[in-house]
């Protein structure tokens, strides 16, 4: 029953890291900004998902953050890519492009038959 849902969520999760890095690559961002964008793209439904991911990427040296005072609550962490993160993103982009090609190629071939 949940086979389709499962595959879909696996696919989404697979590109999660790529998408987050892409969003952050645009400049210093605050997690809830990332979430808004991700929610729009239907990649993430709940905010909780993001925090462990960000921590992991930061610990892997792909991200760094600055504390910024906030009017609406506690100080916020604004994330940006490290040079390593930018390198990483480039590689992911390449892989993604290859995947898109591979998928469209195989998919089109199979529909033509």
């Amino acid at each position: 029953m949940g086979n389709l849902e499962n595959t879909q969520s696996q696919m989404r999760k697979g590109v999660l890291e790529f998408c987050i890095l892409s969003i952050i690559s645009k400049g210093e961002v605050y997690p809830s900004d990332i979430i808004d964008e991700m929610k729009e793209a239907k990649l993430i439904v709940v905010e909780g998902t993001l925090y462990p991911l960000l921590t992991r990427l930061k610990n892997a040296g792909l991200l760094s953050y600055n504390w910024v005072e906030s009017n609406a609550g506690p100080p916020r962490k604004y994330y940006k890519l490290t040079p390593l993160g930018q390198e990483h993103l480039k590689e992911l982009k390449k892989t993604w492009d290859e995947l898109v090609d591979a998928v469209s190629q195989t998919y089109h071939n199979s529909t033509e038959k």
Binding site: L16, G48, S70, G73
Partner: protein, 565 residues
């Protein structure tokens, strides 16, 4: 109106209703349990808390001050279920090695054997075992049915298992039973959506009843046995307590104090007490603690207590060992005094030998404290305590002259030779001659202040050839392997007159060569068995006034001794 608490979330102060607080705390706990320290758990929680603070501030706005349960629900819906974002992390990529480790660590959680009440047919033994071994319970059920038909042992095994195995009732137990990781989120899942219950069959209800009956009976038996042992332990403890109190000389219990005084020095008494406490009293208390603990199923760690009791016990052994060694040294050396007393030749040919009457010793009850190789150490109770040493032996030898002689040999032991000699000198042996009768004592008192050091008295009576002695029955107890020509046993020598010949003692009033034993003497016995019962009448061969009657009839058994004197 609801009570509120003040909390610090992400560095901000919030007033939050108690219910809402519990909910939020639980939520954060659940999230926490999803991550390991190596995941950066603290940082994740910190970030999430900051975000929660932000969301709460947004929800509250300016008009409200208190966070309610609904607000927390809203936060939770924004942040999502912990399972969701932990799952996202798992699949996020190859770098999440740490979470993978955490997951395997969780899956190695021990599976435990329970009875499964949800999927049971009878008592849930097979389904529980199925979970444990990871096989379908059906196979186990089939196995049990097969064993059951092979001689009913299957039923017995099943009942035993049903009694021994605990039922998985709580969510934690159910998770353990299935080998699932136990943490807050799994427990919550288990509580929210419990496993599908199988309708219990009719047979299972009957079996349940049967099982609880057996359990009640078993529990009853266990309680009875426990109570019995506890009772015995209490008695033992009580007697040990009494013994210790007696040794310490506590109120009234003076007899044992005297006894220990008679044997042991002050130091030895103290060390004996210490050894008793360490070897018996403490283990007895410990045993009672264990029993009570076991009986009432009290759970607290007694490991330290066990170790302490063990160490004290070993210490007690050491104390006892050195004390016994020290006591043994009091018996290391021995000393001997030998003196010869002239016995006036009796006017008659025969010297009568009998035991002197000692009303205090004979008439008042005297209890033996312990037996040595020959004779006893005894204490006479009554108005005054007298300690008597019963180590008196009597021998008969041929005299070199025509004069009766009595040789007294006193021996005793001590720590040093001097001490042993002092102990010998303390012996006051009593005997008396009244013309042709020599009255000996079969015991001698140990004066107060003198310790028991195996004091002994050996009497050797030298009898000139041609003279006779009459050995009274009362002498039998102190006779010590007296040589005689007929090799007659000491016990049979009493009540007869013996003449010293060149060959040795010979009986003059009884022929021991043909009548080796006088145990059964038909002349002096009358046995009658008829419709009235059994009647046995025994007469004393030497004293016609003494006889014994034993009658067994329908009214019971009667024993009557007649003594005309």
């Amino acid at each position: 109106m609801n009570k509120t608490v003040t909390v610090n979330i992400g560095g901000m102060v919030f007033h939050i209703e108690e219910l809402a607080y519990d909910k939020l705390k639980n939520y954060l706990q659940t999230i926490r349990s999803h991550f390991s320290v190596s995941d950066g758990r603290d940082e994740i929680i910190e970030d999430i808390e900051s975000r929660i603070a932000e969301i709460l501030l947004q929800i509250l706005g300016k008009s409200r001050q208190v966070v309610t349960s609904e607000d927390v629900d809203q936060v939770m819906s924004v942040m999502g279920k912990p399972e969701d974002f932990a799952g996202a992390d798992d699949a996020a990529g190859s770098t999440s090695q740490t979470t993978g480790d955490a997951a395997t660590a969780e899956s190695t959680i021990k599976r435990r054997l329970y009875r499964d009440p949800d999927e049971r047919v009878i008592a849930g033994v097979c389904s529980g075992m199925g979970h444990y071994f990871g096989i379908d319970a059906v196979w186990l059920r089939i196995l049990f049915i097969i064993i059951f038909f092979m001689g009913f042992s299957g039923l017995l095994i099943y009942i035993v298992l049903a009694i021994i195995l605990p039922k998985a009732i709580t969510p934690t137990q159910k998770l353990e039973m299935r080998g699932d990781p136990v943490n807050i989120s799994t427990i919550r899942k288990e509580t929210e959506s419990p496993a599908v219950k199988r309708e219990p069959s009719g047979i299972s209800n009957v079996f349940d009843l049967f099982l609880s009956g057996i359990k009640i009976i078993l529990k009853g038996i266990v309680y009875i046995i426990t109570a019995f042992f506890a009772f015995i332990a209490l008695i033992v403890l009580f007697s040990i307590g009494m013994a210790i109190m007696a040794m310490l000389g506590v109120g009234g219990l003076t007899i044992p104090v005297f006894i220990s005084d008679q044997f042991l020095s002050r130091d030895q008494q103290m060390w004996t007490t210490v050894a008793f406490i360490l070897l018996f009293a403490i283990p007895a208390v410990w045993l009672i603690i264990r029993l009570v603990k076991w009986m009432f199923n009290i759970k607290y760690n007694t490991h330290r207590l066990n170790v302490a009791v063990g160490i004290l016990f070993i210490l007690g052994l050491a104390v006892a060992f050195f004390n016994v060694y020290d006591i043994a040294r009091d018996f290391a050396k021995d000393a001997k005094i030998r003196n010869t007393v002239q016995v006036l030749n009796p006017s008659a040919q025969t010297l009568s030998l009998r035991i002197m009457d000692d009303p205090k010793y004979d008439e008042e009850s005297h209890s033996n404290v312990f037996s040595t190789r020959r004779g006893n150490f005894s204490v006479t109770t009554g108005s005054d305590f007298v300690f008597n040493q019963d180590n008196v032996d009597f021998k008969v030898e041929k005299a070199p002259t025509d004069q009766f002689e009595l040789i007294q040999v006193f021996t005793a032991e001590g720590r040093t030779e001097k001490e042993a000699m002092d102990n010998v000198k303390s012996i006051k042996y009593n005997f008396e001659q009244k013309d042709s009768t020599l009255m000996l004592s079969d015991h001698f008192p140990i004066p107060k202040g003198v310790k028991f050091r195996n004091q002994k008295v050996l009497l050797i009576l030298k009898v000139p050839v041609g003279k006779s002695i009459y050995i009274d029955e009362s002498m039998v107890d102190i006779l010590d392997d007296i040589d005689n020509v007929t090799n007659t046993w000491d016990g049979d020598m009493g009540g007869h007159t013996w003449k010293m010949t060149d060959a040795g003692l010979m009986c003059t009033d009884f022929d021991f060569t043909t009548n080796k034993t006088d145990d059964v003497d038909p002349d002096n016995m009358d046995i009658k068995i008829d419709q009235h019962g059994v009647r046995i009448q025994g007469k004393d061969a030497n004293d016609k006034d003494k006889n014994v009657n034993i009658k067994i009839d329908k009214s019971g058994m009667h024993v009557k001794t007649e003594d005309a004197k």
